[in-house]
Every structure is written in C-alpha cells, then in structure tokens.
C-alpha cells in the first residue's frame, strides 16, 4: 500500500463565496451574509439587507400621529415599548406637552421591563447559537413572567402599543406593583443561574474571550451603540447622558467595559439586567398619583418643523425624526435604528475569524432583522 503525504504548505486554497442565510437559524431572521472565505477563515462579510423591508417609514406618512406607535411595535419587536415611547416623546416635544409624572414613571418601568425581557431572550438565543440548548429554556422561563405583567397591564405580550402621544393606553393594573415586586425578587435569585450556566462555562469562555474585537475608536466611528458599543468603552447610554421620562430621578450605573470582545459584549448585557432590576426597584414603590393620559385632541396636528427624539432601546440608540408640514400626517418619518448601525460594524469585527466565531459575534450584536430593514 502506498501512502501519499500531503505537504500542507504547498497546497493553495482559493477564496470562495458562500451565502449565509437568508434562511439560516443563526441570523435570527431573513438576513443574508455573503461570506468570502478561505477554508474556514472569514475574509469579508457582506450583509445583504432588505428581505423583510416593510416600508414602515413610508406607511407612517399616511397615518395620523396617534396611529404611528402601533407600527413601530413591528420594527424592533423585542423593544416594542421603547419604540412606542420614542414616537410618543417626539410628538409630545413637538406639541410642547408636559405629561404627568405618573406617565413618566410608568413608561420608565415598562421600558426597563422590556429591556429585561429583550436581554433574557438575547441571553438564551446566544447560548443556543453557541450550541447550549439548555439556556434557551431558562431564559424563556423568566421572560414569560415579564410577558405576563405586560399582558395584565398593556393587554398584549409582544406588540404592546402601550405608549401613545400624551400618555399611556391604560392605567396600570391593580396587581401591577405586586407582580413586578415578586418578579424582581424572583429574578434576583435566578440571575446567578445565568452566570453558572453560561458565563463561567469553559467552552463558552474559550469561544468568546478575545474574539471579534472592536476598539473604542471603531465603535464610535461605526456608530455602534447600546451594550455592544459600551462593551468597547463608548459611553453612549442615552438614558444617562440625555435623560428622558423618569431616568433623571433614578441612580444607575452605565455599564462600561474596555475589552470590546465578544465576551465583554456578553457581560455588558448580563450586567445591564441587574442594573435594570435596580431602576425598577427604585421606581416601583413611588409611582405618583395622577392621570395616565393628557387630554389630547382627536386629530393631532404638529406645528411645521423638524423634530428629533432619541431613546435607548435594548439594542442601542433609536432616533425618531419627524418632518411636519402642519398637516395631520407627517411629511416624512425617519427611524435611526440601532440594529442597522451595529450590523455595519460586523465586517470590521469579523475579519480573520472562523465561521463559528462569526455566529458568536453576530449573536452578541443582538440583531433584530425587522429593526434593520424596517
């Protein structure tokens, strides 16, 4: 029998293109990545977006201002409340309406609950992307409790449409405070489980530490916001630097990390979960009395001009830009979605990594595809 010996130094590999997606479980939706590979090494990532472009910005031009929030539910469906809030705040600023304190506090609590729910889903999907199916069940188990709170007060679990221009849709349910307090107590006890299951796991650490590095300079240059940007040391928390709603009356830390790798982005989100619990804990006992809605006109007309409002969603900075020509419909609406900007940095972060690492990097960016395509 003759044995052939391969001299690996002389074998030339060829660059080739592979489509990852649009139907791929780890892209979390219909995102297509055109990968330029050499063997298993990624040389270039070219995201192709637009597979579920639904024209939300254009549809907004034919809707009245109180109808716009229900469409923004469908953009970033995991931070539906923050999207509603952004539009509501923008319209309120344009009309120079001061909403009651009660509304501000309710909105802040709801936004933090939504952030928790989003981070819980991100955490369990992150584990699943890396092959740890167990985490999926643990994250969803805790998220279910938040969705129950939403269902009781807002009437929906995912597409809340709770924040409307001038207030919130319903007053809080009588059980709301008790349920939220129970949840905080429950989740504080369960959060260490998250670290035990995934953060400390040796396989997980080996696959994340030092992978997909993004420096602070690059994070700022690419406009990577949210926990992904803060993991690179970019202090970009809108809640801290440009407070809206009731964020100016709570104490919380902006989670900043300096490593900028996949593990730092992971840890930033896990730490943010406990910060969110702190914020809710500070507010839940002091919800001021008052109305849950300012009396608004049946048809809201904004003064002529351009209005911009930004909020911190679970993924980063969401900006709402409304151009009004004084009619009952906006002339133009533009959403600055965090997912789109974060995706732009993916190519920069994933040059020279393996395909399996690309999945991990993409997972820590926490992409929601309707948010990118809108």
């Amino acid at each position: 029998m003759t044995t052939t010996t391969l001299d690996f130094d002389t074998i030339k590999t060829q660059e080739y293109l592979v489509n990852m997606g649009p139907q791929h479980p780890s892209t979390h939706g219909v995102l297509r990545l055109v990968l330029k590979l050499e063997g298993e090494i990624v040389h270039n990532v070219d995201p192709v977006v637009g597979y579920i472009h639904s024209g939300i910005e254009k549809m907004c031009e034919s809707l009245a201002y109180h109808q716009i929030p229900h469409l923004t539910d469908r953009m970033d469906y995991l931070s539906a409340h923050m999207n509603n809030e952004a539009v509501a705040l923008c319209v309120e600023n344009a009309l120079q309406i001061e909403v009651p304190d009660r509304v501000k506090v309710i909105r802040t609590i709801m936004a933090e609950l939504q952030r928790l729910a989003s981070h819980q889903l991100w955490w369990c999907v992150m584990g699943m992307d890396m092959g740890a199916l167990t985490t999926f069940f643990y994250g969803l188990r805790d998220r279910e409790l938040i969705l129950d709170i939403f269902e009781e007060t807002c009437g929906a679990r995912l597409t809340l449409n709770y924040s409307t221009p001038g207030g919130v849709m319903f007053d809080i349910h009588p059980n709301f405070q008790k349920r939220v307090k129970d949840f905080i107590k429950y989740f504080r006890a369960k959060l260490p489980e998250y670290n035990q299951l995934l953060s400390g796991n040796v396989i997980f650490r080996e696959r994340t530490i030092g992978i997909g590095h993004l420096s602070q300079k690059d994070a700022i240059a690419w406009g990577v916001t949210g926990p992904s940007g803060r993991a690179s040391g970019f202090a970009c928390d809108v809640r801290k630097h440009h407070p809206y709603s009731a964020y100016d009356r709570v104490n919380f830390n902006e989670i900043l990390r300096t490593e900028g790798d996949t593990y730092a982005r992971y840890q930033a989100r896990v730490d943010e979960m406990s910060e969110s619990l702190d914020i809710i804990g500070q507010l839940i006992d002091n919800i001021p009395e008052g109305d849950h809605q300012v009396k608004m006109k049946g048809i809201i007309k904004l003064p002529e001009g351009e209005f911009y409002q930004r909020v911190e969603t679970a993924r980063g900075e969401l900006g709402v830009f409304i151009v009004s020509d004084g009619k009952k419909n906006p002339y133009r609406v533009k959403f600055r979605s965090p997912g789109f900007s974060n995706l732009a940095a993916l190519n920069h972060m994933s040059k020279g990594v393996k395909i399996a690492d690309l999945v991990a990097i993409m997972s820590t960016l926490d992409l929601v595809i309707p948010d990118i395509d809108r």
Partner: protein
C-alpha cells in the same frame, strides 16, 4: 513538563465549570415542581387570559339582542389599516324622524393589528376586545366577520 501541567489544569478546570452548569440543570431534574412548563392544548379548560388581553374586536349584545353601536364611524376612522368597515342605513323612527342606524359592522380580523385604537375611540363603548386567541381557520374568508348580530338593534337609554 509545564505544558503538560497546564494541559491537565485546563482539563480539571473545564470539568469543574461543566459540573457547575450541570448542578443547575440537575437541581431542576430532581425538583420537578419548580418546572413551570404549561401543557398548552391539554390545559385549555383552565387557561384564562388576562382581562385586558386583546384577542379580537367583538361587539357585546345583551339578552334582547341589542348592542350599543350608533354607526358613527369613529372606529373606522381611527383604524390604521382599514380593518373596519361601517355600513349604515336610514330608518324612520315611530315619531317620524329619520335616523341613521348601523346595518353592518364589518371587521377584517386578518388585517387587524389589535392596536386597541378603535376600542379606545368608541364613544359609546359598543366594541370591546375579546379574549379568544385561537384564530386559525381553514379559509381566509372566515376571518371577515360581521360584528352586529342579524336582527339586532341599538340599546336606547330609556330602556336601560
């Protein structure tokens, strides 16, 4: 030699973290009461949605087949995606006055985003959100519903 020690060290450390993770899952394995999974289709009898849950738009009728809808069309105007169509007709009241009443309140569940704007805008509280959430049907046409029941009429204040 150092390499080997580090290699062995890594293996032991790795096993420790695996055991740590397994301890969490093992805890639930031996404490099945802590598991919160719902057996969905089997628990239909006990499964109750919250009172504010938005499942579909319905129009409640009382025992005498009467509803509160005046046919004003405000819900139709407030609907962002045209899920509601109001068809009215004119009738003559016993006093000889002409009055506009609702003929058909057509509701397209397939187009509805359950945003609650129609229910919020309704001046008489004629439409509310129902609790039903199992909406799957065999044919798309079944998703278009007429909310006011045949032969129903409006509740008048003096009869209440």
């Amino acid at each position: 030699m150092k390499e080997i020690i580090r290699y062995l060290n890594d293996i032991i450390k790795g096993l420790c973290t695996l055991v740590k993770g397994m301890a969490v899952t093992g805890h639930y394995f031996f404490h099945p009461k802590l598991i919160t999974t719902q057996q969905y289709p089997e628990n239909r009898a006990t499964l109750k949605m919250q009172e504010r849950f938005r499942g579909e738009v319905i129009m409640p009728h009382d025992a005498n087949n009467r509803h509160k809808c005046t046919g004003c069309g405000i819900c139709e105007m407030n609907c962002p995606n045209g899920s509601i169509e109001i068809i009215t007709r004119m009738i003559e009241t016993p006093e000889g006055k002409k009055k506009k009443v609702i003929d058909k309140h057509i509701y397209h569940l397939g187009m509805c985003t359950l945003c609650n704007l129609c229910v919020k805008a309704c001046p008489t509280g004629a439409i509310v959100m129902g609790q039903k959430f199992e909406h799957a049907v065999w044919d798309r046409s079944q998703l278009t519903k007429v909310l006011n029941q045949p032969g129903s009429e409006i509740m008048t204040d003096e009869k209440e």
